[in-house]
Symmetry: C2
Subunit: 348 residues, 2 copies
């Protein structure tokens, strides 16, 4: 299809959009699970949910998210194949904490000028994330919006839908005083606090993408683009065993912002910051940026990206099961009678 001349002059190319679509077809269809109905390129993506909903009440759990200004790091570094994976994993974790396993994912890419090769690179990250989490990349939209995004900039949004049997839906109501909060290590900043981290790393410290991030043993680019970890594989066995009373994905707002989202109205939670040492990247950010400790724990995950509440007598069993499935875990907090609040205990 030749370009519309006037439309192209206004900055929108139907031809580039077609090329981008062709470039992602294989990446996308490779993620299709047996439940996917219909092929690539229809108006809406179809997913046969019958097999997952037979014989019981099924709750679909859905979540929408973005990558935040980690995207600015991707643009600065010129590496675009991992932010899609970040977003899939972020979304998967958001429904995992409700006990749901992902069924399918959809993406949105907004950009100023659609560069087909760039779109393919971004979509390859979505596809890798979907394959790793066993969910289909069921659809998406790529929008070319000249003027809205400057230069090479773009934004991403991701949407995931998962399912859980109703009796196994986790909303935190099962958390009881005495429960222990196990912390599962993060792979880095995940997708939070990047506006502050970028300012500290690139402006305050004046570092470039290839410089070593002091104390981290790897480059700024590798550290800041480390992929947001998916906790699905590690936690599935615990969910199967009905060991978990509630979970928290430690994202924007940190511990004090996110833990109350799952606490019953009569339960408090104390997180003991001395229970683990924050990884080097957080220590660097705190020191270089002169960020007060309490603010660090509200903006960043500080090395613990997910908390799982388990009964006090099941802690060792849960830690063992997690370790068997490739994840460390550490008791970092406890539930106690209270009013639905989270407190971070720090050394004075």
């Amino acid at each position: 299809m030749p370009d519309g001349e006037r439309y192209a002059a206004a900055g929108v190319s139907l031809e580039r959009a077609e090329r981008a679509t062709r470039g992602m077809r294989d990446l996308v269809t490779r993620t299709f699970t047996p439940e996917v109905v219909g092929g690539f390129g229809g108006f809406g993506g179809g997913f046969d949910v019958s097999a997952r909903t037979r014989g019981g009440e099924t709750v679909l759990v859905a979540s929408a998210d973005g990558v935040g200004t980690k995207l600015e790091v991707a643009v600065r570094v010129g590496r675009h194949d991992s932010v899609g994976e970040d977003l899939v994993n972020h979304c998967v974790n958001d429904i995992l904490v409700k006990g749901a396993r992902p069924l399918f994912f959809l993406d949105y890419i907004g950009c100023g000028r659609l560069v087909p090769e760039r779109i393919t690179e971004i979509v390859s990250g979505f596809a890798r994330g979907c394959l790793a989490n066993g969910c289909a990349l069921l659809g998406g939209e790529t929008a070319e919006m000249p003027g809205l995004y400057e230069g090479e900039r773009y934004d991403l949004a991701g949407f995931v839908v998962g399912a859980v049997e109703r009796p196994r839906l986790l909303d935190g109501s099962a958390i009881r005083p005495g429960d222990v909060a196990l912390g599962l290590p993060s792979s880095g900043l995940h997708t939070n606090g990047y506006s502050l981290a970028r300012r500290i790393v690139f402006e305050d410290a004046g570092l470039g993408p290839d410089d070593e991030l002091p104390g981290c043993g790897r480059s700024v680019a590798d550290e800041l683009l480390a992929v947001h970890r998916s906790y699905l594989a590690a936690l599935e066995p615990l969910l199967e065993a009905d060991l978990v009373h509630g979970m928290v994905h430690v994202t924007g707002g940190g511990f004090e912002g996110n833990v109350p989202r799952v606490l019953p109205a009569d339960v408090d939670c104390e997180i003991d910051a001395s229970a683990w040492d924050p990884p080097a990247v957080f220590r660097f950010l705190a020191r270089q940026g002169r960020v007060p400790p309490r603010e660090m724990y509200r903006v960043f995950n500080m090395g613990m990206g997910l908390l799982a509440f388990v009964g006090r007598d099941r802690v060792q069993h849960a830690i063992g099961l997690l370790r068997e499935h490739g994840s460390e875990a550490l008791p970092v907090g406890r539930a106690l009678p209270g009013r639905g609040r989270a407190r971070l205990l720090m050394a004075a």
Copy 2:
């Protein structure tokens, strides 16, 4: 929660995010249908799909979309309460053409500086659209990304999930030679071609938002922000009666770009452009922008936002049923033996 000082200095305010969340709580919870599980503010939104999937194979149909640079018009005009409704309706139409009714919707808002009142205004559009289409506004994300979006600019992405019994899934395979394509009127540009339309209206013609769009009898603002029509209410009775063989949502790519997405490999479709008169806004854009007729039909919907293929002997019945439910409809094309191509017939 007082703001983190360093994070706020980097342009991100957790306090503003909290205020925005409070402002949307009522709007959102009012859209909750009985199937919604759990309240507002959890990690993922829950939806009990059991009632909709009982006794048969159910296909979930999902779609993601954006509003394109219609957003730039909203910013220029200073009216932000309708673009959310545009997006809901766009998404609803995208799954409706597969025969699916919407269950729930999620939104993503990306902005440079989070203004709580602005976010509430945008979300009110999402909520109005969800209420009108009977779907729950199940979740969303608002991301403050200083630097990525300039000034007042923002981007929106929407995501809808609907359901259809598998035997009633429409993928176009039922379209047969002889079928008639009924066109259902659009409410205006819907959400396509805005980069070109804005250039013509604001730059070429030098019009402002309050000027009358010549020949249209209403202002530039009202015409360009006319809400993308949802075809759900009009088409439900036809779907109930199994009258429809396939449908096309006429969006980016126009007739020749979208019709082939549903045609069987051995069927062509001819669209007769002389079957209807394009509304005044399209005539103005063509004339003022000197856009060739063929390009007009590839960029814009030209007054027909949805096509429904029905058997030749059911045309009058279908038109009567649509009229009873508030929609005009007109035969605008026909299916014939071929190779999956769409042709637009225009006077020379």
